[in-house]
């Protein structure tokens, strides 16, 4: 047995999970699909006295199309997100990004909420949540609250949730109108964490001007990143006047904590990141223009 000993809790309702977390405080960790947490436990990079398994809390699982948005329960597996027709029509970017997460065996266990609460800067769902202005629904025995994605991610593997709080679900806004979405990643092998990647959404008005755009960046910071300054510069311009390579360069400007390690220097990652943004932008804008 490789992980250190822990006590196991398996609540069956959200309220019970919140009660357990309130009682145990910092010594407890929520176990969702376990595809990131269990390796950390096996390598003893993380040690917890208590694990609170939310796998039996069925109210945390599900996908619902609501007025102008899509709600996904935190405990919903990535495999279910990938296969959902509701997700494909409401938030196509989620459907397209999901196959990049690990391998199908990982996605059978891994959950949407687990990925977002783990807040890995190289992961796919945090980048999409940030880029699309998703809302995180968080609960504790003190009450429920909603947190905007821009206020949620707080550093490497860190969020602004308190130790007694549980992520219950995420709401993604639905874009209608003339939209295009694309994901590009560069990884040495399919399923690896990407050297760099980008998720792009573009919405055009009837005159082919950019009404809004969203550029999420994968593996390009110590926290999930969004190219907000680049987006602001692009909105209002005619899509035909925008060169994808320029979007790539714009999106890399101002990134302050690009990883620099044996998988790639910061400079290399910036060049790869610019290329990924450019490719995703080209694909998304073509889809927005021509459907």
């Amino acid at each position: 047995m490789k992980p250190a000993p822990f006590e196991y809790h398996a609540p069956e309702t959200t309220a019970d999970a919140a009660t357990v977390l309130a009682r145990l405080g910092d010594g407890a960790k929520v176990l969702a699909g376990g595809q990131s947490l269990v390796p950390m436990l096996a390598l003893r990079l993380a040690v917890f006295e208590h694990l609170v398994d939310i796998g039996r809390v069925t109210e945390l699982q599900g996908i619902e199309v609501r007025d102008g948005s899509l709600w996904i329960g935190a405990g919903t597996t990535q495999a279910r997100v990938e296969a959902s027709d509701d997700v494909a029509s409401a938030v196509p970017l989620l459907t397209r990004v999901t196959p990049f997460i690990g391998h199908f065996q990982i996605r059978n266990r891994g959950t949407l909420g687990g990925s977002i609460a783990h807040a890995d800067p190289a992961a796919e769902y945090p980048a999409v949540a940030l880029a699309l202005d998703a809302t995180m629904h968080v609960t504790s025995s003190r009450g429920a609250r909603s947190v905007a994605a821009r206020d949620y991610f707080d550093g490497l593997w860190t969020t602004t949730m308190e130790a007694d709080e549980l992520l219950t679900g995420v709401t993604f806004p639905t874009w209608d109108g003339r939209c295009g979405f694309a994901v590009e990643e560069f990884a040495r092998r399919h399923g690896d964490f990407a050297i760099a990647g980008a998720t792009v959404g573009v919405e055009l008005d009837d005159a082919d001007r950019i009404g809004r755009c969203a550029i999420g960046l994968i593996g390009l910071g110590s926290t999930p990143e969004r190219a907000g300054a680049a987006e602001a510069e692009l909105v209002g311009r005619s899509i035909t006047d925008v060169e994808p390579d320029d979007v790539g360069r714009l999106a890399m400007a101002g990134l302050a904590s690009v990883p620099d390690d044996l998988h790639g220097s910061a400079g290399f990652r910036l060049r790869v990141g610019a290329a990924m943004v450019a490719r995703a932008w080209a694909t998304a804008s073509t889809e927005a223009r021509h459907g």
């Binding site: 490789k2 196991y8 269990v38 390598l43 196959p99 199908f104 059978n108």
Partner: protein, 162 residues
């Protein structure tokens, strides 16, 4: 830190055990059920050798605690062949195509491919390669493995047992 009861079905046989929560499903299968066909390579979710089916879904048994499988129906490599010993279509294809060298990774490949072809009976070559990407063969025998999956897929498409 006490033990926790678990009840699950492994290859059709019901099991009731008391386990430490930190016991992985992989160790449970190998040490409690004596089903040592499930191999452990990396023990942190990278190599795929320990893949089993939990309620039909291919998962890494090293990334799941046995307590999480309470109530589940688990199939290991020992449960793939028919009771009289006839190999499954996937197993036979691995044998026919020399889809194994040392054989250490083979149980993981067979379990993953069994689930993959059930869900995707007519895969493209690209889909097969993606499906195989989650399991590592350190003998690098991927060409034979790929051919085996292609053969098993084609056999399944022609109405044979899979």
């Amino acid at each position: 830190m006490g033990e926790v009861p678990v009840h699950l079905t492994v290859n059709g046989r019901r099991r009731a055990e008391s386990v430490e929560p930190r016991l992985t499903l992989a160790d449970f299968l190998r040490e409690r059920c004596q089903l040592t066909g499930t191999h452990l390579g990396c023990e942190h979710g990278v190599c795929g050798a320990c893949t089993v089916l939990v309620d039909g879904a291919a998962v890494r048994s090293c990334l799941m605690f046995a307590v999480q499988a309470d109530g589940a129906d688990v199939t290991t490599i020992e449960g793939v062949a028919s009771p009289d010993g006839d190999l499954s279509t996937v197993q036979a294809a691995f044998r026919d195509c020399h889809g194994l060298q040392c054989g250490f990774c083979t149980p993981g490949f067979v379990m993953s491919v069994t689930a993959f072809l059930r869900d995707q009976p007519g895969p493209t070559d690209e889909q097969i390669r993606q499906a195989l990407s989650g399991t590592l063969c350190r003998c690098t025998g991927y060409q034979g493995i790929f051919k085996a999956v292609r053969q098993a897929a084609d056999a399944g498409q022609h109405g044979e047992r899979s």
